[in-house]
């Protein structure tokens, strides 16, 4: 596994909003076919890190590398970088004025120049494969939260991304709808999709992630295989975080 090439990398990434330092020097690598989970309390910087990796936010210092190339240098077109990555948001962020099919084909057609017919054929295939056959022409607000998030994941997959960035993709869902989204992500993992995911579903992190990184106050204070980090964390902040989750019945 460690021989696989690095697809995503952060080197000393810092980011502040005004006086608030959100990221204080993040070093992180994600190798091909690897799934890395970011855990930590809300406000620990997980979402910001994902947004910075997708160049949706400017970073203050450090570098982000995609496929071995520094992408946070002047002269690098962020649009071209984002086209190679897929991002899924906590609140789905589907385009409410477009049908399910139109949501999925917008980027392939407009950003990647795929002929519409071909893009639609591929979108229908993807939707069918993930149990959304017959939903193509519905508006997103007619779907359940779980279905909407699956559409959002398929939208991110439509252009064959190098890696998926997943930002708390189950935390806006009713508990009984979480399962269907996790099943989809598990399948993507089995197919070898490279993933960096922020999550507070520890059971999911344990099951799918090859590596778990614990973020605390803008730093990765501990990382390791899930069974080790979640069962016997060595850092005091990690122990406190996991104990609180345990008390809240979330583990």
């Amino acid at each position: 596994m460690s021989a696989a090439p690095v697809v995503l990398e952060a080197r000393g990434v810092t980011k502040a909003y005004g006086d608030t330092e959100v990221l204080r020097g993040i070093d992180l690598t994600v190798r091909r076919h690897e799934a890395v989970a970011l855990i930590g309390a809300s406000g620990s910087g997980k979402s910001t890190l994902l947004r910075c990796m997708d160049l949706l936010e400017d970073i203050d210092d450090g570098d982000v590398l995609v496929d071995g190339e520094i992408v946070t240098e002047p002269g690098v077109d962020p649009v071209a970088v984002r086209r190679r990555l897929g991002m899924v948001f906590q609140a789905f962020n589907l385009f409410p004025h477009l049908t399910v099919l139109q949501n999925v084909v917008l980027a392939p057609v407009r950003a990647h120049g795929v002929p519409r017919e071909e893009a639609e054929r591929r979108a229908r295939e993807l939707l069918a494969r993930f149990g959304l056959e017959g939903r193509e022409d519905q508006m997103p607000d007619r779907l359940s939260g779980g279905q909407q998030q699956r559409v959002a994941i398929i939208r991110a997959l439509a252009a064959d991304p190098l890696a998926l960035l997943l930002d708390e993709v189950t935390s806006a869902l009713d508990p009984d709808l979480v399962g269907e989204v996790l099943v989809l992500l598990r399948e993507l993992k089995e197919r070898g999709m490279t993933m960096l995911l922020a999550t507070h579903e520890m059971s999911f992190a344990r099951e799918v992630a090859d590596r778990v990184c614990f973020l605390h106050e803008g730093r990765i204070v501990e990382e390791g295989p899930p069974e080790q980090l979640l069962a016997s964390p060595s850092h005091e902040a990690t122990q406190r975080f996991l104990r609180r989750l345990l008390e809240g019945g979330r583990l």
């Binding site: 649009v79 984002r82 086209r83 991002m87 948001f89 962020n93 385009f95 004025h97 990647h112 439509a158």
Partner: protein, 250 residues
Amino acid sequence: MSTVSTVVVLGALLVAVTSSKGWPEVRDTFFNPSDFADSFPQVLEGFWLDVRMFVVVEVAVLALGLAIALVRVSSTPALTPLRLLATGFVDLFRGVPTILVVYLIGFGIPALEMSGLPTDPVILGGIALTLSYSAYVSEVYRAGIDSIHPGQRAAALAVGLTERQALRFVVLPQAIRRVIPPLLNDFISLQKDVALVSILGPLEAFRVAQIEASSNFVYTPLVAAAVLFLAVTVPLARWLERMQRRRMER
């Protein structure tokens, strides 16, 4: 119940007005059927000019208003001078009464005596209305664009669209749908305000009615003009309401 109360209230109003001391006089000067019939064809002819002006100005307003709004919401540093200009434009034309804008443009532009500038009062009046209404309408568009959740832009960028594509395919379609009701409100307002161009002299409905009124010492032609405006704005308002309702149901 509601029908009964409506009849009672309207009936009482009608009785109150028609039993007033001046009513016979008012009836003869404002609501004289033969004066109405005499002046109606001329007023109607004038009204046709109002309709044409309204259609052309409305199209221009929708385009110019959107252009101004897009400049104002842009964040490109290179557009800063244009952005300041757009802000100044909105402050100016929203702050000055429309009738004054019509006056200043209608009499000021010809006074420059520069070749190539329009001198036709209909065109000058149309330009004045376009400037004034574009300032308002651009703010309506801008409010709509600002109301779209930033997550929509983020999602559009995340799938690989450029800023411009995100605006065109994701933000604007949603923003425009959202501001259709206030846009339609301005639409009806403009439909009436074309009468302001009369101060520059073109023979539109109000102007024709005024001439008819003062030459015969009756006010019925003005009522005829009012009826014509109502004949367009009221059905327009109802039609728009129905469209909106249908949109909501979908």
